[in-house]
């Protein structure tokens, strides 16, 4: 099950994360997970929010460049080797992980990892056939 992630371009300067976060807060939208990619000159905020369609509207109206893309939320055992299970399932495929980050809320000994693959559909198929649980947006 694919999840929609938002990306926002931000300059790498003090205070530049504030404006988009405030817009989302004012619209009553909750940020469920966030990853900040930074380079010397700019950053990319990657967000998973409670209502992505509304979030895009709010952010674009606020003057931000927003992109949406599909990511996968993968459930793994919250114990040593948990991530290795996912990676092992992708071994010997041409699927590449662009980036990944952890979802802060897990349940009963499980952790949730957010993956951005270069080929989301192929990754989804592969992980499912390896018996790995993918979590949907609603559930998150």
């Amino acid at each position: 099950m694919k999840i929609t992630q938002l990306c926002i371009f931000a300059e790498n300067k003090p205070g530049h994360m504030m404006a988009p976060c405030r817009l989302l807060a004012e619209a009553g939208l909750n940020i469920r997970a966030l990853l900040l990619a930074d380079t010397q000159r700019f950053g990319i905020m990657r967000l998973i929010v409670s209502d992505w369609q509304k979030a895009v509207k709010v952010l674009e109206a606020g003057g931000f460049v927003v992109k949406t893309m599909d990511v996968l939320a993968v459930e793994v055992p919250d114990q040593p080797g948990g991530l290795a299970i996912v990676l092992a399932a992708l071994e010997n495929t041409a699927i590449n992980i662009e980036y990944m980050y952890a979802f802060p809320f897990g349940r009963q000994g499980k952790a949730v990892l957010i993956f951005r693959f270069d080929d989301t559909d192929a990754a989804m198929q592969r992980l499912r056939s390896a018996g790995i649980n993918l979590i949907g947006g609603e559930e998150l």
């Binding site: 992630q5 371009f9 300059e11 990619a37 380079t39 000159r41 003057g63 992109k67 893309m69």
Partner: protein, 442 residues
Amino acid sequence: MTTSKTAVIPPHPVSALDYMPQTELKRLQLHRLQAVVKRTWERVPLFRTRLNERGLAPEDIQSLSDAAKLPFTVKTDLRDTYPFGLFASPMEDVVRLHASSGTTGKPIVVAYTQADLDTWAGIMARAMACCGLHKGDILQNCFGYGLFTGGLGYHYGAERLGATVIPISGGNTDRQIMILSDFGATAICCTPTYLLHLIDRAESLGVDLRKLRLRFGMFGAEPWTESMRRRMEAATGIKAYDLYGLSEIIGPGVSVECYCQDGLHILDDHFYAEIIDPESGEVLPEEAEGELVITTLSKEAFPMIRYRTRDITALMSGPCPCGRTLSRMRRVYRRSDDMLIIRGVNVFPSQVESVLLDMEGTLPHYQIILTREHGLDQMDVQVEVTAQMFSDSVRAIEALRERLANAMERVLQVRVRITLVEPRTIQRSEGKAKRVFDRRSL
């Protein structure tokens, strides 16, 4: 002005023409003006059409002031006839091509016959003799060798004088400093900003340029000021002379300072200079500030009739204490168009715009910021990110930035730093947008 130096520099034999009586000089100018107008009328269709439209013929040039009747030639004429449309010699007589920046992606091309190269070497020999270069001097030529006219222009002029040339070309500053010191160069030529960079670098290397044999330098290809001259002279102990020129006319050698350092002597026997009001095109009197317009008087392959240089200056009245009869122009420190000179390279904001358009399909908001870091010009182009160029991958954005920077460098011939900024952060202005912020302290 330091007249005390008069006795130090005896006039060089090639300088004899610099002291020609005014009446003779004017007669020579008229004779050559008539010849070049006739040659250009016969051989360059664009010029012929323009004269015909005005009902003029070459015979209508009966005095120097008749030059004012002639149509101007502008930079876009060179673009519109790209690459060879204004040549007045058949290609088999052209022995050299040079090029400089145009206003868009294409350069402008200039041509020389063998006679033109001889003329140019003679002109540069005279210009450098005016600054005191002579046989026995060792000249480190840090101007770029290649399509740019600077390197080869100085090279052949200095050889003509019998000086020793170190054809080191631009860049590799540490090596420049080593060679400057080891080879005992007595003269140097480069852009004024490059000398400032050299000074900066020498300081960090612990090299005292004042202890070298260097006596003087000739600087040009970009505007510079008296305060820059003071810094350059104080840090190196040399005399810094302004030597003006432009590719469209010949390259370096159009005018040059003498030891008085008070205005540049125009080589009147080769270049007919006028100052015009850039708005109305009317010819202005001496001392009035306006745009410099030059007609080449002795070139074969690429004659220019009333070329609008876009450089703002004034013709000076009264004789120069050095005794030269040549007319003088004030130093050029600004232009009447938006051309920027970055490390000696001509850059137009429209070139930046054409690259952005080519790569993005639409024109994003952008601004150009010029600064000077360690004596070197730095050009930053800030581009507002659009949805089209944005991606969630750092790699993809970095790759885009790199592609933009490379495309800019290909077209502009200078390295540009591209910074992507957030949408709506570049200030919008009503009417004509201010795109260029020049923060170099000249």
